[in-house]
């Protein structure tokens, strides 16, 4: 800023002693604004219960996931020989029963949606710029949809006689 030469005579004694300050009363430095401030132009309330549904889903799916995941870990890693028993035959045997198919499908969907919603709130909390939010969420939703579809496809079309 070279324009403050004109006002040096009128500026008060606030400035620094050595060297000329870039800023004075007529040319204050920009203040550091807090991210995404609320103004009277902030979008007004929109009808819809999505945020409430998402919040409730986190609590309920969390409770169900505790049972599903701990059961899954016990069966896969601890009980009856532990991790050494797992192989193609073990998985094929389990998925022959609709009960384990539903169990795994439920676990896949709940865990993916629970995790995706958690990451969505983290992105909302931490990404300050609208563009960053857009891209991160786009990436998140793409990855979520891809994983859920691929997992569901495998569970439904699993062929134990594959060679």
């Amino acid at each position: 800023m070279s324009s403050n030469n004109a006002v040096t005579e009128t500026s008060s004694a606030i400035g620094v002693v050595e060297g000329e300050s870039l800023y004075d009363v007529d040319h204050p430095a920009p203040v550091i604004e807090a991210p995404r401030q609320r103004t009277n132009k902030t979008p007004k309330a929109t009808r819809g219960n999505f945020e409430m549904a998402a919040w409730l889903f986190m609590r309920l799916s969390g409770v169900v996931l505790v049972v599903l995941v701990i059961g899954h870990l016990l069966i896969q890693l601890v009980l009856d020989g532990g991790v050494s028993k797992i192989g193609f035959a073990f998985v094929a045997g389990r998925w022959a029963s609709p009960f384990w198919q539903v169990w795994d499908l439920l676990m896949l969907w709940l865990a993916m949606l629970h995790g995706a919603n958690g990451l969505r709130t983290i992105i909302n909390d931490y990404a300050e710029r609208a563009n960053t939010r857009l891209w991160l969420k786009g990436l998140l939703y793409t990855a979520t949809v891809f994983t859920i579809l691929l997992g569901s496809l495998v569970i439904f079309t699993f062929d134990p006689n594959i060679r």
Binding site: I14, Y23, N124
Partner: protein, 262 residues
């Protein structure tokens, strides 16, 4: 005959007058956009009575040491809510915080650490400890913090039972100092969030049996920047100088939204 006694007394008085003072360093976050674009810490070492408050120390600095120190205060008795600041990393009212409660002493009895004072976080700093409160009050206005009724005005008071009054008693204590909202990590990163103070003041009317716009306020707080952004970190409850159970009030609004009962 009396003179020696008087001397003794005077000496005793003079002694006690200075001995109860302790030397405390106040490390204050200074910012003056008319001088520099950067904020910086500045130390002030003053002798002060440990029974005095941080606000007294700030007065002492402003009046006797450096007149350019800028901060807000009005009533100085914890009612107006204008001197919320971050003292030793915690949001408090400078007029309700005693020096003796925040300084720590080393083995020799001297004060071991400086007391840090900075502006509350999440709002734009305008100068030294003064922040722009407009976004904070905008959120407050957006929850309609006033009694809404329909029908003819009654000819006498709007009566309320003691139990109905008790329902929202805690949230009537709010003095709008912004200590809670500016201690909220969600608010630090996203000022669009209503913040604890606005929700507390919505709670005060939502659970008021005389008010008829509870449904409307719940709808406002049901939005994406409303109560569902609360992460239950309890920073607001810890920060509140009035002892309001802020997080509990937010949870009650959440429950009212789910059950539609309030």
């Amino acid at each position: 005959m009396a003179t020696p006694t008087m001397d003794k007394l005077e000496a005793l008085e003079a002694d006690s007058a200075s001995s109860h003072l302790i030397a405390v360093t106040f490390r204050i976050r200074r910012f003056n956009p008319e001088v520099s674009a950067d904020a910086s810490w500045e130390d002030f070492r003053i002798d002060i009575d440990p029974k005095e408050r941080v606000l007294d120390a700030l007065h002492k600095i402003k009046w006797d040491v450096d007149g350019t120190l800028t901060f807000r205060r009005s009533c100085a008795h914890g009612i107006c809510g204008s001197d919320a600041m971050r003292i030793n990393g915690r949001n408090r009212l400078a007029c309700k915080t005693l020096i003796k409660d925040i300084v720590s002493f080393d083995k020799s009895g001297a004060v071991s650490k400086p007391v840090t004072i900075e502006a509350i976080k999440g709002l734009t700093v305008l100068k030294d400890l003064i922040v722009d409160m407009d976004p904070f009050f905008q959120a407050y206005r957006d929850v309609m913090p006033f009694l809404v009724t329909t029908g003819n005005e009654p000819t006498r008071e709007r009566l309320q039972s003691a139990e109905d009054r008790e329902r929202f008693d805690d949230t009537t204590k709010c003095i709008l100092c912004a200590a809670c909202t500016s201690s909220c990590p969600v608010f630090w990163n996203d000022g669009q969030y209503f913040g604890p103070a606005a929700i507390v003041n919505a709670h005060r009317f939502i659970f008021d049996s005389r008010d008829e716009a509870g449904e409307q306020r719940l709808e406002i707080l049901n939005d994406k920047d409303g109560v569902w952004r609360c992460r239950t970190t309890f920073n607001c409850t810890d920060a509140c100088p009035r002892g309001i159970e802020v997080t509990k009030a937010i949870q009650e609004v959440k429950r009212a939204l789910i059950t539609r009962r309030f």
